[in-house]
Amino acid sequence: MLKIMQSFNKDSVIDFPAYVAQTIGGSILSFLQSIGALAAFIGKATAKSFSPPFYPRLIMKQFIDIGYYSLPVVGMTALFTGMVLALQSYTGFTRFNAEGAIAGVVALSVTRELAPVLAGLMVAGRVGASIAAEIGTMRVTEQIDALITLSVNPFKYLIAPRVIAGTLMLPILVLMGDIIGIYGGYIVSIYNLDFSSGTYIAQTWDILEKMDVLSGLIKAAVFGFIVSMMGCYHGFNSGRGAQGVGTATTYAVVSASILILISNYILTQVFFS
């Protein structure tokens, strides 16, 4: 800032507001421009995902890359989240003699919020980054141009399989995360906090409704779409060189994470009010 001020002292002071207005105007314009570009990209990618030719083998490969290989990360996250939830609510709830609510708190928090959001964020780091790096590298080494010259549409060949796999696999991952997370709470409650197994399970079933799980899975599908789309978008529009790919990867993870948190709030508002 000081530097900017100094550079203006040399000219005239009156230019400064004009400079500020120009800079702000410029960045608003370029922001709107990138929103437009993103919207166009999403529209094109979605349209191409639903029209032939399809590449079943590539979609299968992405199912495995995105779904199967994310299982350990999502499973660990869910397990320890469920465990710590039980522990935390125990220390908190004993103050109001409300230990009986632990099973319900674990089940609801995991299925509605924690499994989808944490799985989404973990997958953004794991899958979003790798999609952006892979497609970005293909961009800077002209492999995407090569695809086009060989009469293959990169939206169908590269992007559609990833977006389809991301959107379909995340709900499955989250469903497993739900089960593992609740099981984590169960372990801590039974072996550490001396609850009775039967009561804990009954309490869990009692409180859990279809909508709790379903809303979490719908969130997961949206997050999966966001993660894969952000990875593809930033990779596809990667700048030149290794630096371009690095920046694309960072943007993919950061933008996916932020969009997950924002859309999570909006979806929660829609589902439960």
Partner: protein, 256 residues
């Protein structure tokens, strides 16, 4: 001759990246079955010119006609159909690193022309032989090859579909002189035997002499000279003379 529609015709093509003007009104004509070589210093926009013709980059203005049809205003569908006519060897190779060498070569046949994999595999091995590589190379991944070998695989991929128009972006850069000559022969063969039209970029003057029917020189975003290859060493153009003799002194500035 003059009544024939040219295979490629560029008129006043301009392209800038931000402030930087790279193509400054390119005019270029390539007739059917002809081999045109573009020469010029690095960073003068040779690769950008090719990418504009291929439709990988959109020129800011000007006209590019292929077989007499304007391409700059084409929609996606027309563009896709046009791509089937093209083959391109990228300067950096641009091989798909997730695929084996033979799959790279067969890619355009299997995905673009919907050929079955066995048939495409045989053609891939044949092309591999033509570019002077052993059959076993087919089962390696591009990362396992040297730069020169990658270039040859990339060449094999570019010609595998027998395209009507082939673009070669520095095909012999990074090859030893003998292999460079093999590649030169192969390019000449594509043009003479298959009747393809070729547009080649090169810095390699012996390669230019061997494969060109015509030569054009690009400088500061314009074609400053073109003529039959026979006149290249008799061009009376000081820019061309400096370039083909590789002199440090001359009208071409040292810091462009």
């Amino acid at each position: 001759m003059s009544t024939k529609t040219p295979k490629i015709e560029m008129k006043d093509v301009r392209k800038a990246f931000g402030e930087k003007c790279v193509l400054n009104g390119i005019d270029l004509t390539v007739n059917k079955g002809e081999s045109l070589v573009i020469i010029g210093g690095s960073g003068t926009g040779k690769s950008v010119t090719l990418k504009c013709v291929l439709g990988l980059m959109k020129p800011d203005s000007g006209s590019i006609m292929i077989d007499g049809v304007e391409t700059t205003t084409m929609n996606q569908k027309e563009r896709d159909a046009l791509m089937g006519k093209f083959g391109m060897l990228f300067q950096g190779g641009a091989l798909f690193d997730s695929m084996k060498v033979w799959e790279n070569i067969a890619f355009g046949l299997i995905q673009g022309k919907k050929m079955n994999a066995d048939e495409a595999h045989d053609i891939a091995l044949e092309k591999l032989r033509q570019v002077g590589l052993a059959q076993q190379t087919g089962n390696l991944f591009p990362a396992e090859l040297s730069g020169g070998m990658q270039k040859r695989v990339s060449l094999a991929r570019a010609i595998a579909t027998n395209p009507e128009i082939i673009f070669f972006d520095e095909p012999t850069t990074g090859l030893d002189p003998i292999m460079a000559d093999v590649i030169n022969d192969l390019i000449s063969e594509c043009v003479k035997d298959l009747g393809a039209t070729a547009l080649t970029i090169t810095h390699d003057m012996s390669s230019a002499r061997k494969i060109a029917d015509h030569v054009a020189m690009i400088y500061e975003g314009q074609m400053i000279w073109d003529g039959p290859v026979g006149q290249l060493y008799d061009s009376k153009n000081s820019y061309v003379e400096q370039f083909i003799h590789g002199r440090a002194d001359g009208p071409i500035s040292k810091h462009s």
